[in-house]
């Protein structure tokens, strides 16, 4: 039997991305030039890196609202260590470790203590952000070594891609392969579809979830380092509200909030779409507020349209049944 071709949400997002790029190139001659592409990639790098891990977490039926605070705490730790005389490499390592630790704390509270992740991560959102202020006070760390911060604003020599493309591309490739071609990926989907069934079929559900929270923390730490280099500064009030952008991107990319459904390239297409739309709106001198409205609208579309299709199909099917 020939496999029936079904048109998925992620293909829709990819087409949406293409349309944005085509329309963007028409409305502004600056859209498709190399400087702007480099800028767009820099602009979305942190959100994209966190979204990779958040995809797993939402597919597994959990959520993490504390990612932006972890990003900032990792950045603050980096700044704090460097200000107190640690070599920059050690400071980066410290930032990454703090990210991992934060993720483990979330995972511990969800899997071992057994609390709902939504409530836990609202709590850790405040806790981790509070620790940023406790570490740095109101003084951002601005004197970072020049040879490192050039990585934040310069392109890879000979190309038009910013340095942050490298971690993003490597991590995206790993995330893609692991989610769609390995046992860990299949386990993630199984847990999201039915945690009870997953447990009885021998999947270590608690350990998997702990791992996913830890990886999300680590990815937020990586994003924290990228963020610090991009702004050449570690401050306690950075990246406020990023968690909502990350979740909006993941859901627009076709991952169901109820868990069990989603593809990684759908999410990547969604992140790029948001970056492209932001750039188009800026280039045609639209106010930054329009972006908020567009993000919100895309988020709603990503739940309303599949629901409308579902209702339409069930009506058609039931009409068919009554005719017989």
């Amino acid at each position: 039997m020939k496999k029936k071709y079904t048109f998925g949400w992620d293909q829709g997002v990819a087409i949406f991305l293409l349309m944005t790029v085509v329309i963007g190139s028409f409305v502004s001659e600056y859209f498709a030039n190399f400087d702007n592409i480099s800028f767009v990639i820099q602009d979305i790098a942190e959100i994209a890196i966190i979204a990779l891990a958040m995809t797993y977490l939402i597919i597994a039926g959990e959520i993490d609202l504390s990612v932006a605070s972890i990003l900032c705490l990792s950045s603050a730790t980096l700044g704090f260590l460097f200000r107190n005389g640690a070599p920059f490499e050690m400071a980066i390592l410290g930032g990454l470790l703090v990210g991992l630790l934060c993720g483990l704390i979330n995972g511990f509270l969800v899997t071992v203590v057994g609390l709902p992740s939504l409530a836990v991560t609202i709590g850790t959102l405040a806790l981790f952000r509070g620790l940023c202020y406790a570490l740095l006070g109101n003084e951002p760390v601005n004197e970072l070594p020049e040879e490192w911060i050039v990585l934040g604003y310069e392109n890879i020599p000979g190309t038009f891609l910013p340095w942050s493309t490298i971690p993003l591309a490597i991590l995206a490739a790993i995330a893609w392969i692991v989610l769609h071609y390995t046992r860990i990926g299949r386990w993630t989907f199984a847990i999201g579809i039915n945690p009870e069934a997953a447990k009885f079929s021998g999947i270590p559900v608690a350990r998997m979830k702990l791992g996913l929270f830890a990886v999300t923390g680590l990815m937020s730490g990586v994003a924290g380092v990228v963020y610090t280099l991009r702004f050449a500064s570690a401050s306690p009030d950075g990246a406020v509200g990023y968690e909502l952008s990350v979740i909006a991107a993941v859901l627009f990319g076709g991952v169901a909030i109820a868990g069990g459904v989603g593809t990684l390239w759908g999410v990547l297409a969604a992140v790029l779409s948001l970056g492209a739309i932001r750039s188009v709106l800026q280039l045609i001198d639209f106010s930054a507020n329009a972006l908020l409205v567009v993000s919100g609208a895309l988020l709603l579309i990503s739940v309303v349209v599949p629901k409308a299709i579902e209702i339409y199909q069930s009506r058609r099917n039931s009409a068919f049944v009554t005719k017989i």
Binding site: G61, E62, I63, L109, V110, V113, G114, L115, P116, S117, L118, A119, V120, I122, G123, T124, L125, A126, L127, F128, R129, G130, L131, Y133, A134, G137, N138, P195, E196, V240, G241, L244, I247, A248, L251, I257, A258, G259, S287, A288, N289, A290, L291, L292, V293, V294, S295, G296, A297, L299, L300, S302, V303, V304, K307
Partner: protein
């Protein structure tokens, strides 16, 4: 006697109330200024906005839903009130505008959650963005200043009734009204049934969609009207007003025993939770702890509260992000 004791220990609000008493006593002993009238007024005035929103949020959380759009709604409404007033419109016109905004946002949320059966977390996250975006566009760089605030709102923000700030009285009256309704009126009791077992509620003949819609509508309406409270509290409003308030509100509810898993909790608990968070904020100041630690302490307290609740109750393990099924 024994039954009275067990009954007392069953009260969900008791632990958080005891925590509040302990915080107040410790702080008061360490710093006697905390016990003065101005210390009392600081707490009650500071808590008014979050307490008002927490009362509204309770309606939604007991149904196992959530409304994240309240921060955007209250900020926009505060701005609209000030803006309309500065153009010479009267007090009631301004309040009508605030109510209309709240009803519009509430109806949009309610329609999508109740009739399209979409997840409330996603829907209200979407409306949070959209309302904030429209608000920022309307407000631009403008700021509502004190002379633009309508007279009655200015009055309740600055004055006290026998030492109790009017704003706190507004929050308490709202709490008592909603508390009475949720205890005595059957359609409001239905919200608990929906939150504890959706399927059973449906089979039991509760018009679930209508109840969910009305609860979101009510939450929206209160958030809109609460714009007056926000404006009265700060005497100013600008494009960033109410930003991030939704998380403080959810935190107050959860600390006060309104479980995110739905079906339990009261508005009294939510308000006590809000007061506890505010008291701790003030206590840190009174004890000379740098205010930088404030946020971290609030977060820790929230986690401690839900851990304790989890330990005390014998509910099943959470299987979804909203908690137990």
């Amino acid at each position: 006697m024994k039954t009275a004791m067990t009954k007392l220990f069953r009260i969900r609000e008791l632990p958080v109330f005891l925590a509040l008493v302990i915080v107040v006593l410790i702080t008061g002993t360490a710093n006697p200024e905390f016990f003065t009238l101005s210390g009392f007024q600081d707490i009650t005035l500071g808590v008014a906005v979050v307490a008002t929103l927490a009362v509204a949020q309770t309606l939604v959380i007991v149904m196992k839903h959530i409304d994240l759009s309240v921060g955007s709604t209250i900020g926009f409404s505060a701005y609209l009130i000030g803006d309309a007033s500065s153009q010479g419109h009267g007090f009631w016109y301004c309040m009508g505008l605030a109510l209309a905004l709240g009803l519009a946002v509430g109806a949009a949320n309610g329609f999508m959650v109740a009739y399209l059966q979409l997840p409330s977390l996603v829907v209200t996250l979407g409306t949070l963005y959209i309302v904030r975006g429209i608000f920022n566009e309307v407000a631009g760089g403008n700021t509502i200043t004190e002379d633009m605030v309508p007279g009655p709102i200015n009055f309740i923000g600055l004055n006290t009734f026998f030492g109790i700030p009017y704003l706190f009285i507004v929050a308490v009256v709202l709490m008592l009204i909603v508390g009475f309704i949720m205890k005595r009126i059957r359609s409001a009791r239905d919200l608990y049934a929906i939150g504890s077992n959706l399927l059973a509620a449906e089979l039991g003949g509760i018009p679930v969609a209508r109840r969910v819609f009305l609860a979101f509508l009510a939450t929206g309406a209160v958030s809109g009207l609460a714009g007056a409270v926000l404006l009265a509290r700060f005497n100013t409003a600008a494009a960033n007003s109410g930003n991030g308030l939704e998380l403080s509100v959810v935190a107050a509810c959860v600390v006060g025993g309104v479980a995110i898993a739905g079906g339990v909790g009261t508005v009294y608990g939510a308000v006590i939770g809000a007061i506890l968070l505010q008291a701790i904020t003030m206590a840190l100041g009174a004890l000379g702890i740098p205010q930088f630690w404030q946020l971290a302490v609030n977060g820790t307290l929230l986690i401690a509260a839900i851990s304790l609740d989890r330990y005390l109750s014998t509910r099943v393990k959470p299987t979804s992000i909203m908690g137990a099924k």
